[in-house]
Amino acid sequence: MAFDVRKIREDFPILEKPIREGKRLVYLDTAATAQKPRQVIGAMDEFYRRHNANVHRAIHQLSEEATEIYEEAHRAVAGFINAGSMEEVIFTKNATESLNLLAYTLVPRLKKGDEIVLTQMEHHSNLVPWQQLAKRQGTPIKFITLTSDHQLNKESVEKTITDKTKVVAVAHVSNTLGTINDVQEIAKMAHERHAWCVVDGAQSVPHLPIDAQKLGCDFLAFSGHKMYGPSGIGVLYGRKELLEEMPPFLFGGGMIRSVDWEGSAWNGLPWKFEAGTPPMAEAAGLLAAVTYLKGIGMGAIGKHEKELASYALKTLSSLKNVTLYGPRKNRAGVFSFNVKGVHAHDVAAILDAEGIAVRGGHHCTMPLMSVLGVPGTARASLGIYSTTEDIDALAAGIGKVQKVFG
């Protein structure tokens, strides 16, 4: 089936909502959170109306139904990213929790002097948990630097990943620059040095076809809400043999096999890492999101967004007195920019008055802002429902910003 963005837009009720006194919503903030199709909203509604009960707890019919949906969601996500099995798919609260889980449970395998390697373009979620681990364990963090066009510097990659490296944690797609990193190559280099490779897939899994086994990473973290699913659910993919060795992160109900007064035995994968009543309706929503994306096809989605990103790149780089950050090639639909003489907040506020939703600020990448030499940027990010009209509206909106500040 051919990709038809008009048809897709009809699936997203919020896009019909008039914004700022009757203006068309131009939603260019999908990198922050994606809008939800009626299929996802309906699945969550349906879960509460017809299937709500606690999972893995009871033998009554509703619990069976809820459990089946919850487990099916794991299987669907496993299929979506080509994990080896659903045992390799752990549901968390979000990508941030997935990364925190790692920063805590990989600790027993680290000794003083072991190094952690990150890049200068990491989101705070893939930086702060490792900083805290570094403080607790005395494991220094080394940063891979960027080239002048905001890609990872290959020389720096080779120099920074050494025999001392134990963990390499890297964003697949930068949430600020849109850079697509060659994580397959980085995973290979990490493994040659006997280090684990952690990939932050929050900005890639919703937009590109992902094959976790082909990427070769040991762990892949992502969020439901950025892939057109609900907030409150995230995923950690991990290789089974590593997950089996790792200790649990959170403790309580659901993650145990048996408990006596002295101690407990842990449940099997993935439940060992899912303590407490999990996000159940959210899992139903995530299942619907994955089904929705698979129905359209990640290949077709990736192609649509790539074409749109080229159009956006061409349009935005033709604007005078606008600085665009990020690479010219190997980039996803994320565009950080600044309008000369105008603060990013003012850019965002004026665009908002036109019905255009962009983000203004540091995008949870404050250290990266110091590399760019700016306090913040405005950021427009694309999604499955974005159109060339959205980008034209953005360009016109930037014109208005320049007129106001003229």
Partner: protein, 146 residues
């Protein structure tokens, strides 16, 4: 009126592009730095106190038009005031100077300079004035997150 033109009216843009009292001061009695982690805006304020009055005040920093214009207007208003008088300035005084209404998020931009001024005066009272050294260049820099 167009809501954008209402917010970014000529007076605000004029203060943004040509801020009054902008720059650092060598002989400040107190200087203090505030930061809005939400947007990265920062304001550093320098105050010279003489006889319990704000003899001079300057500010430096980066920020959006609303935060910079409010700092420019606020420093104009604070200059010459007794400390106790300057402490009476409120959110409403800032909004009156700006002549606009603001959403809660943008209000934080507008109030960053007021927070900086008030905290500067507080620091002056607690750390500087108590040492009986009110007109020296004994400056104190404080930083507060959030």
């Amino acid at each position: 009126m167009d809501p954008v033109e209402q917010m970014y009216h000529e007076n605000i843009l004029d203060h943004y592009k040509h801020p009054h009292n902008f720059g650092k001061m060598d002989n400040a009695s107190v200087h203090h730095h505030e930061y809005n982690p939400l947007c990265g805006d920062q304001i550093e304020m320098f105050i010279r106190v003489e006889d319990g009055r704000i003899a001079d005040v300057r500010f430096a920093g980066k920020g959006c038009a609303i935060s910079q214009a409010s700092a420019s207007m606020l420093t104009d208003a604070a200059k010459g005031k007794a400390l106790a008088e300057a402490e009476q300035l409120t959110k409403d005084s800032i909004l009156e100077m700006l002549g606009i209404t603001l959403t809660p998020i943008r209000l934080k931009c507008a109030l960053l300079s007021l927070d900086t001024l008030k905290n500067s005066i507080h620091i002056y009272r607690v750390y500087v004035a108590k040492q009986g050294d009110a007109t020296s260049d004994h400056a104190h820099t404080g930083e507060r997150n959030g």
